[in-house]
């Protein structure tokens, strides 16, 4: 560190600002970035208002966002049948072209029946719906076997397959379905903004070893912090820590 710090150059705020100004980022690119985030994350009202304020036309029909969010919450509620019907109304091709996802949804439906203690229904359902699908695609049988194994236990939650009853399992199914819907609309499954912020954090960490420069420590405000100030606050570790926390403040979905 010492050998490099001797050579470390300090870039003043003015110099930095000149460099920043030389990069031209169009307003419309930024607007598209924001719109991309709002659309993919499903903030329909915000997207609508943003569209009317900045004149940026959304890449998709905004009503499809609402449909997508309805479907997601239905899965999160455990209303799988409803979610399947909704997604089939939105675009029947999604489940027809995603046998794995389709099976995952049916499996979730089975899990929900088991959770509700409707054992007879669960078995009938496994027999009539899941067995033929397993026959078509035997690679799914293992998952089915695990779900059916739930029935073998009195206390299902503490059983080795109890994790299937976790809400995280619903969340997993909901995310997979959401991603498939986005793909069917030729959209990315993840918004661009969070990955740009991750890139910013990474780039600053890289720079910290080489130079002193006005850092962005708070991505919410995006304010530049003068190199002297940041030097007093510590080394690169605190810097990346700051980026990390502000990264976390972005409402990202897992």
């Amino acid at each position: 560190m010492d050998s490099t710090s001797a050579a470390t150059k300090t870039i003043t705020r003015a110099e930095w600002q000149t460099m920043l100004d030389s990069v031209s980022v169009s307003k419309s690119s930024l607007n598209r970035l924001v719109m991309n985030y709002l659309v993919i994350e499903g903030y329909k009202d915000a997207a609508e208002r943003f569209a009317s304020e900045c004149g940026e036309t959304p890449t998709v029909d905004l009503s499809s966002i609402e449909d997508r969010m309805c479907i997601r919450t239905a899965v999160q509620r455990g209303a799988i049948e409803e979610a399947i019907e909704l997604v089939n109304d939105l675009n029947p091709d999604i489940l027809d072209t995603n046998p794995k996802l389709c099976f995952q949804l049916q499996l979730q439906r089975l899990i929900e029946l088991i959770r509700a203690g409707q054992i007879d229904e669960a078995l009938a359902f496994a027999q009539s719906e899941l067995a033929p699908r397993g026959e078509e695609q035997p690679q799914f049988l293992e998952e089915l076997e695990k779900a059916l194994a739930l029935l073998a236990f009195d206390n299902q939650r503490t059983s080795p397959v109890g994790h299937l009853l976790d809400l995280a399992q619903r969340q997993k199914t909901a995310s997979a379905l959401n991603a498939a819907i986005l793909a069917s609309q030729n959209q990315e499954r993840d918004p661009k903004l969070p990955s740009l912020l991750k890139m910013l954090a990474w780039a600053q960490t890289q720079l910290d070893d080489r130079t002193k420069y006005p850092r962005i420590n708070d991505v919410v405000t995006g304010a530049l912090q003068d190199p002297e100030e940041s030097a007093t606050s510590g080394s690169s570790a605190s810097g990346s820590g700051a980026a990390g926390t502000s990264n976390g403040s972005v409402p990202m979905r897992i």
Binding site: P92, A124, F125, S128, P138, E142, L151
Partner: protein, 774 residues
């Protein structure tokens, strides 16, 4: 089995269960999974449940929207009657049907009732192949098609359209049923302007139909081109607009429809990320099927942002993050090159195209992995220079990996966690059909790419043989999938163009035996491919020739020479001809004993000229060689053969190749005994034809005719002076003198040799002719 469940549930405690019951757990399951027709562990006997839907009832509800006299309705009623008697019912659930629940005589149902019935049907079949089949068997398709015309309700139409789309998924049979029921016509009649959802569903369903069975749907659309024009107008960035892009690229049949207006609509879609993938795919499809003229217009498309032309844009897309986009960009570039619109030096084959294709060979998507080798094959096909450019250890190694057993899929499931032995055992026994299909397609396209890579270039054959592809190739000659067997024959054929490999590596790998077996394949296409490869491996210098002769290959080839399929017949006669090329007498005898004059005569009189040509060449090889060889043939069928040759000269005068081969037969007979030569020289018809052939327009025919003269006049043979005298009577010497000025070098050379023979025997013409020579 229900005992098993109760045992589990009353297990004293969790830990006890795992320590004591684990064995019985997996053992029980093992038995279940092993059972020949898979049924899931069903713990409780049949019981009615709200989760199970009765297909017959659903279709009956759909039917009830149509009147008593509806044709599709009546068709369904008949089906239902046969089901309710129980005689044809195969599933337990169908027998439980309460036949009084809905009856054709009851009043016609409302649109609202029909909507919920069709929606239920739709949700039942989506994602389930078996249910699609089941509903199609219940005549659901004609019912839905009729319903589409019968209703004015947009919501009902929407549900019907979506359901038809789901039924069409991945099934030629169901697409055929839709076409037969007039489904495409009904779909194109739907007025969807008022509802964007209906329009979206409509376009999506048409897209699925076309994607599932392009030829069946394409045939319908080729007769309804006005609809394709309507599709072209709908092109745009919306979901239905992008479906229109797909439909247009697949359905336009003539370049005339690809108007500037359509191109102007397509070009901007290349600039937006959401529409890029379907649009570049459409361009790839358009370029594959259109003329150079259209290709030139696409190349000059403007404006394409910073790119100077379409090729520059496609080259930029070779770096795109989506592998599908890269794949179609490669396809576009290759098509532009193949249409002679993009010169080789601008293709960037070495710099950008091949590296992009090689990268695609290792892509995560099996669809991309299947298509990438096909593009390589298309690029290098029949082009030695490109085969040289394309060859790279990486290409061969990656393609060789395709031929190995795929383990990716099973890795996928084992990553999830514990994989029970029962599942693993089950999966080995019954690998899923879709996975099998993908594996077969992967192998097929890798084999074809390897075959194309070495079709012309010897060094590439060596590189492929060195990559240890051959043992795998031999295995794949017996692969269960027909297309793989065909592709394996193709690769064996490309490799067998190398004399070196015919003598060594192909022999070592044991390629002959499975190839011979394929001559008895149930598929004619496989037989044809195998016979084409056998043509090469029976050549004179190949050790495999012996093997073919010794294991009944000749009898099989003779048998197949009389099949209906023209290509198969041609290949087999060709192979027999190659067997006879400079063959030993015993081998000739073998062929003759199988073939005989009557069969040979049939081949010589085949309806196809190319087969007649091969048959004549076969005779030419047969009468080539020592006196014994010729004697055998002439003794057996000399007379009818000469008659046939006369017939060829008279009736096939318009086919120089046949005349030429017939002349070579004469030429070979003329190397025989004095008796054979006499037979020829005393045959007025043959001699007249020979004289005429000397002035034939085709130099190949003239060369063959001069060869005949040379052999007949060969001075060292007994009786030569008499034959020369006879030839002089026919003024052959004068003709030859005139021919010494022939523009064809080959003719001139042969004429010189012939005149030398004549010079051995004095003639009064010699003194006369000398002034002419100056």
């Amino acid at each position: 089995m229900s005992n098993m469940l109760t045992n589990f549930r009353s297990a004293p405690s969790l830990s006890d269960f795992w320590s004591q019951q684990r064995f019985s757990y997996s053992f029980n399951y093992f038995l279940i999974w092993q059972s020949p027709s898979l049924t899931l562990p069903i713990f409780i006997p049949k019981m009615p449940s709200r989760v199970a839907v009765e297909p017959l009832e659903v279709v009956a509800a759909v039917r009830s929207r149509l009147g008593a006299n509806s044709p599709a309705g009546l068709q369904f009623d008949a089906l239902r009657d046969s089901h309710s008697t129980g005689s044809t019912s195969t599933t337990a659930t169908m027998m439980q049907l309460d036949s009084s629940s809905s009856h054709p005589d009851t009043a016609v149902a409302s649109d609202a009732e029909a909507i919920s019935a069709v929606r239920l049907l739709k949700n039942e079949i989506i994602g389930s192949l078996s249910k699609k089949t089941a509903y199609a068997q219940l005549a659901a398709i004609p019912l839905l098609v009729e319903l589409l015309d019968a209703t004015q309700n947009d919501e009902l139409k929407l549900q019907v359209v979506a359901t038809l789309g789901s039924l069409a998924h991945d099934s030629n049979a169901r697409v055929a049923a839709i076409v037969q029921a007039g489904g495409i016509a009904a779909l194109t009649r739907v007025q969807a302007q008022s509802s964007s959802r209906l329009l979206e569903a409509l376009m999506r369903t048409l897209k699925i139909i076309v994607a599932s069975d392009e030829s069946a749907a394409g045939e319908w659309f080729s007769q309804h081109q006005q609809f394709v024009n309507r599709v072209a107008e709908m092109i745009g960035p919306s979901s239905s607009g992008l479906d229109a892009v797909y439909l247009f690229s697949r359905l336009h049949t003539s370049g005339g429809q690809l108007t500037d207006a359509t191109l102007d609509k397509l070009a901007p879609l290349l600039q937006q990320s959401a529409s890029l993938e379907p649009t570049i795919e459409a361009f790839a499809a358009l370029l594959r099927s259109t003329s150079a003229l259209i290709a030139r217009r696409i190349l000059a498309l403007s404006p394409l942002s910073s790119n100077s032309n379409f090729a520059a844009l496609a080259k930029n897309l070779l770096k795109h993050k989506s592998s599908t986009v890269r794949l179609h960009a490669c396809s576009c570039l290759i098509s532009l090159y193949k249409a002679n619109v993009l010169p080789l030096q601008e293709l960037g084959a070495n710099e950008v195209l091949m590296p992009a294709l090689v990268k695609l060979l290792g892509d995560a998507s099996s669809k991309v992995r299947i298509l990438a080798p096909q593009l390589i094959a298309r690029l290098v096909d029949d082009h030695e220079e490109l085969q040289k450019l394309a060859i790279d250890p990486d290409v061969i190694n990656k393609l060789a990996v395709y031929l190995k057993d795929e383990t990716n899929e099973s890795n996928d499931t084992s990553a999830i966690g514990m994989q029970s032995p029962s599942i693993a055992a089950y999966m080995q026994l019954h690998a899923p059909t879709q996975e099998l299909k993908a594996q077969a397609s992967l192998r097929c396209s890798a084999l074809l790419a390897l075959a194309a890579l070495c079709s012309k270039r010897e060094e590439n054959r060596k590189a492929i043989a060195d990559a240890r592809v051959l043992p795998k190739l031999v295995e794949l000659l017996e692969y269960r999938d027909e297309s793989v067997r065909i592709a394996a024959c193709q690769l064996a054929r490309s490799l067998s163009r190398s004399v070196k490999h015919l003598r060594s590596s192909l022999v070592d790998a044991g390629v002959a035996k499975p190839l011979l077996k394929l001559l008895s394949d149930p598929s004619t296409v496989v037989q044809t491919a195998a016979s084409a490869t056998i043509c090469n491996i029976v050549l004179d210098f190949s050790p495999m020739k012996k093997m073919v002769l010794e294991s009944g290959g000749v009898a099989k080839l003779v048998e197949l020479s009389f099949k209906d399929d023209h290509d198969l017949r041609l290949n087999c006669v060709w192979a027999l001809k190659n067997i006879l090329y400079q063959a030993e007498l015993q081998d000739k005898n073998k062929v003759l004993s199988e073939l005989g004059w009557s069969k040979l005569y049939r081949l010589l009189n085949d309806t196809h000229e190319d087969i007649r040509e091969q048959a004549l060449t076969l005779v030419r090889n047969l009468v080539h060689g020592a006196l014994e060889d010729i004697g055998r043939v002439m003794a057996e069928f000399g007379e009818p053969l000469l008659e046939h040759l006369q017939k060829v000269f008279q009736e096939e005068a318009n086919a120089p190749v046949l005349v030429q081969q017939a002349l070579y037969v004469v030429c070979n007979i003329a190397t025989g005994s004095e008796a054979h030569k006499t037979t020829l020289i005393q045959n007025p018809l043959i001699m007249t034809s020979l004289v005429e052939a000397l002035s034939h327009a085709d130099p190949g025919v003239r060369v063959a005719a001069v060869w005949c003269v040379i052999n007949l006049a060969w001075a060292e043979e007994t009786g030569a002076s008499d034959r020369v005298a006879r030839l002089r009577e026919l003024h052959v010497d004068r003709l030859l003198l005139a021919m010494s000025e022939d523009y064809d070098l080959d003719v001139r050379d042969r004429v010189k040799t012939a005149l030398e023979q004549f010079a051995h025997f004095e003639s009064d013409l010699a003194s006369v002719s000398s002034p002419m020579e100056s």
